[in-house]
Every structure is written in structure tokens, then in C-alpha cells.
Subunit: 336 residues, 2 copies
């Protein structure tokens, strides 16, 4: 059994903040990342929560991300905001962008935020959820080093990173949140099996010639299997077109890895759209989102994407989160 | 073997136009639909080409679509155009919207077109492709009567209708075009098997309790299998949120069927986003799209979605299209 210690969300945020600053991150860049880390732990997505803090710290120290970066914002057209993340953390670039994106979307009806020279943005749905909390429909895309091959091919050309959409219902709260990658399974799961020396099920990954494999190491050198075959490739292409091409960020085929210390900054991108449903649907929107959600929940055993996270989040607010003590020890060591 | 007759694209357009007008469609509504029908035949998507003309004619006559409708356009915010299709054909509503959407996207950087009280829009990629031909990134969503059940559930809540994205490359022509539904297979394929009394493969459709079935009639009363399981449901929810909720159109759970003559107008919706890549990526966009396409085509046997349609289209311009004579006879009968 894994040993755990229960921390409040405030404690998780503070611990993350201190560790990031100790590693050489500015307070302004550390804060949004620390807040997102606490929210991610609250949602039960432990793989992208505190476990990432030692990786972030290492990446600041090796220069894969610039902890002192100052994101640069421009408004080239009435409906578009661009942010050059300057090889810093995605979170502060997104924060800076959202401060203007939210009022702009209300004014214009639709507005876009295009971020380049960026880094892994953690859980994408965390960011789109913030737009839904502001009464907007939030759509997001984030790209990643290539790990999915095209249909009929064998060499990776697109990443497994997700798209996300979040929308508020009649209570004004985020009611439907989708945040899904284009691969059958997260690459981190294949990496975990490799570390543990366990075989992977057929259908998770392919070898260098595009054939199924049960060897996680062979799969990691080959490609990740797209969910649903060519339709998964289509979703991955959508994400790459939006998050890399449309931002002027680095394509997945040219990006340095997110893991490890080699290769310098990945300079990947994020793209967000914020739409004011009052502009596009009058007062009809929230009722339809709630009716759609209710049609799902009215069926025994049926659920919406995001339902699990919502329940865990509510619990974490009052009860805190049980965190792996080995993860905590690694983070506390960073504080010196 | 199926008997065919070869028609030029101009002949296909003219035949479609005359048949639609003979059925009671105004010239203004018939023309965009006739142009789209010819383009769809050129792309080799025969299921949505001339074969649909007798269905359109029947739907005008029974009132499922108003052939004389005049779409009503408004601009409620600087970046948003709404069109009430007035239960008419989607194509003329989209045409009217695109006339303003294209210049608006260039000016604003991003603009949205929200269409409600609409009808089946045919091949969605036909419309996004038009945005790409104008140098924009075109994204589209169209909703449909519910036929996919939620994860863990058994009753349909979302449709199989697609999302689409189209983008130009360095030659200024549409270079990547994705147009895919959320189901493993098109519902029309299951209907075809039912008509022909053939069993369907496991994985195409589910019975009323959510179990796999090989009986197409059982599947049509149950639900369509989502591509890649819960991730297919996620894509279907994305489409429903965009095309129904965000337009104020009828949710798939409440929409009358697209097929048959019962139930009156479906009043479904379409939502389009047009983004000017020069605003979001400076001059970096087209090069990245072309580089991504080349990374796919450089691999033996690999292909992009839309490659097949592009090749057929080029051929059809000079050689015309071989059309099923039985389909032609049905259309010619409409001309009286």
C-alpha cells in the first residue's frame, strides 16, 4: 500500500509555490502554477499534480523552461490576443491572456488567445473550466512532441495532447467539461509500465513499423495507438493545427521532449477560444446544456466526461487530498 | 454491376437545380444546394450527392424543409453573425452567413457564424473547405437527431454528425481537411445493411440495452457505437454543445428525424468559426500546415484525411462523374 499524508488545498498550493521559487521561478510565474497544481490534486489527477513539481523544478534548473520569463502580450486584431510565453511556464502566459480574453469575448462575442514559445500546460481542462466559470464556452488545444503516426504510416507526426471544451449550465457553474487526448491511453501509462517492467495490452502502442506491440519500450520508440484508428489521428491533427500551426509554435515533429532534461525549451503552443453564448444563442444556451447533462444523468450508470473530477473537487475542498509521501519528500527536499 | 452514366459537374448542378425548383424550392435556395451537390459528387461522396436530391424534393413537398424560406441574418456582437434558417435549407443560410463571415474574420481575426432552425447541411467539409479557400482556418459543427448513447448508458443522447476543420497551406489551397463523425461507422451504412437484409459487424451498433448486436434493425432501434468508446462520446458531445446548444438550435434528443417525412422540420443547427491565421500566427501558419502535410506524405502508404476527396475532385473537373442511372431516373422523374 502507498503511504499518504493528507494536505489541505492551501497547503498544496503553498508547498508548490515555495518549491518552484526555490528552484529559481519568479513569484509571478510560480503562483498560477501552484494554484493549478492544487486544483489538479483536488480533481484527483495526481499524475499532473504535485508529482510534476520536481520535474518543473528540474526543468527550470536545466533551462528547459525559463522560470524568470515575462510573457509578452499583443492584440493584433480586435478579436485576437497573442502571447509569446518567452520559453516560460504556460500557466503565467495563459493567466495573462485570460485577463484580457474574458472581457474581450463578452464584448466581441468570440475571441481567441494564441500562445507560442510555451511549455506543457498541465491539465488543459483546468484552463477551459476557468472560462466556463466566467459564463463563457471555453475551448482549448495544446500541442506536444509527436507520438502518433498518420493513417497508413508508422512514424509519429502528431502528439497525444488533448482538446478541451467547458460550458456552464443554468446554475452558472461548469456543467459539461471534456478534456481528452487522441490516443487510446495516456503515454504516461506506457512509460509507467516500462519503468515497472510490465507488458502493455495490445492496442495501446505500435512498434516502429506500425504493428501492435505488448513491449512498452518498443512502443515508446514506435508510436502511440490513436483512439478509434483514423478518427483518433483526425483529432490529433485538429489539435496540432490549432495549437501549433495557428499559434506559430513548434510543430510536434520538431519539438524537444517534455520529459527529461535534453533538447532545450519545447516552444510548443496553446490556443483558446472563448465564446459568449448570449451572443450566439440568446438566452437558450444554458438550458440546453443542462438538459443535455440531465439526459445523460437520467440513465442508470451513465456519466459525462468530467463527472469524476467534479465529485472529487467538492470533497477535496473540505477534506483535503491524500498525497503520496514519497512525492512530498521529493518536493520538501527542494526547499533545502 | 451498377449501371452508370457520366455527367459533367455543370450538368449535375443544373439537374439538381431544376429538380429542386420543380419540387417547390426557390431559385435562391436551390442554387447553393445544387452547387454543393455537384461538388459532393466531384469529391466521390455519392451517398450525399445526387442520391439526396429526391429526398430533398420529398422534404420540400411534405414540409420537413421550407423551400421558400428566407434566412434572417443578424450581427449581435462585433465578432458574431447569427442566421435563423427559418426551417429552410442549411445551404442558403450558410451562404448568406459566409458572405459576411469571411470579411469579418479578416477584420476581427476570428468570427463565428451561428445557425439555428436549420436542416441537414450535407457534407460539412464542403463548407469548411470554402473558408480555407478564402485563406482562413474554417471549423464547423452540425448536429443531428440523437443516435449515440453516453458512456455507461444505453439511450441515445447525441448525434453522429461531424466536426470539420480545413486549412490552407503555402500554395494558398486547402491542404488539410478533416471531416469526421463520432461513430465507428456512418448510420447510413447500418441503414443500407438493414435494407439489404445483411448482418452488421460487431462494433458498429448497440442494442437498446447497450450490448453489441449484428442485427442492423436492432442497432437502429438501439444506438450507434462511438468511435474509440468514451472518446467518441466526447467528440459527439463537443459537436452537440457547439451546433445545438451554442446556436439555440434543437438538441438531438428533441430533433425530428432527418430521414422519412414524419415529425416536421428538425430545426437543428450549424456553428462555424473562421480564423485568420495572419492574426494568430503572423506569417508562420501556412508553412507549418504544409510541413505537417509533407511529414505525412513522406511516409510510404500514409495519407491525410481528405486526400482521397482531393484526388477525385481534380479528376471530376475534366472527366465528370459516373452517376448511378437509377438515381438519375428518380431525379429526372421529378422534372415531370
Amino acid at each position: 500500500m502507498t503511504e499518504t499524508r493528507t494536505l489541505s488545498l492551501a497547503e498544496i498550493e503553498e508547498l508548490s509555490f515555495k518549491a518552484l521559487v526555490a528552484a529559481g521561478t519568479s513569484a509571478g510565474n510560480a503562483r498560477p502554477l501552484a494554484i493549478a497544481t492544487a486544483a489538479t490534486e483536488a480533481d484527483g489527477v495526481a499524475s499532473h499534480g504535485l508529482a510534476y513539481i520536481p520535474i518543473y523544478a528540474e526543468h527550470v534548473q536545466c533551462g528547459k523552461v525559463d522560470g524568470q520569463a515575462v510573457p509578452k502580450l499583443e492584440v493584433p486584431r480586435p478579436g485576437v490576443i497573442t502571447v509569446d510565453a518567452a520559453t516560460g511556464f504556460a500557466h503565467s502566459a495563459i493567466d495573462k491572456g485570460f485577463d484580457q480574453l474574458i472581457p474581450l469575448a463578452r464584448q466581441q462575442g468570440v475571441a481567441a488567445l494564441s500562445i507560442r514559445n510555451s511549455y506543457n500546460c498541465g491539465v488543459l481542462g483546468y484552463h477551459t473550466n476557468r472560462l466556463a466559470e466566467s459564463g463563457l464556452v471555453g475551448i482549448g488545444f495544446t500541442n506536444a512532441p509527436a507520438s502518433i503516426a498518420p493513417s497508413g504510416g508508422y512514424k509519429p507526426v502528431v502528439g497525444t495532447n488533448p482538446f478541451s471544451i467547458a460550458a456552464p449550465g443554468i446554475d452558472g457553474k461548469p456543467t459539461i467539461l471534456i478534456d481528452q487526448s487522441a490516443s487510446t491511453i495516456a503515454k504516461s501509462e506506457v512509460m509507467k509500465h516500462a519503468r515497472e517492467g510490465k507488458p502493455i495490452p495490445v492496442g495501446w502502442a505500435l512498434d516502429g513499423e506500425g504493428n501492435p506491440t505488448t513491449d512498452p519500450n518498443v512502443g515508446l520508440k514506435g508510436s502511440m495507438a490513436p483512439s478509434g484508428g483514423y478518427k483518433g489521428v483526425g483529432v490529433a491533427l485538429l489539435v496540432e493545427m490549432m495549437a501549433a500551426a495557428l499559434t506559430g509554435a513548434t510543430l510536434g515533429i520538431n519539438a524537444s521532449p517534455f520529459s527529461g532534461t535534453a533538447g532545450g525549451p519545447p516552444k510548443t503552443g496553446q490556443f483558446f477560444l472563448a465564446i459568449d453564448p448570449a451572443a450566439t444563442a440568446g438566452d437558450a444556451f444554458a438550458g440546453r446544456i443542462t438538459e443535455l447533462a440531465q439526459a445523460v444523468h437520467a440513465q442508470d450508470g451513465a456519466h459525462l466526461p468530467g463527472d469524476g473530477r467534479t465529485k472529487k473537487r467538492a470533497l477535496a475542498q473540505t477534506q483535503g487530498v491524500a498525497v503520496n509521501t514519497a512525492t512530498l519528500a521529493r518536493i520538501e527536499a527542494l526547499l533545502g
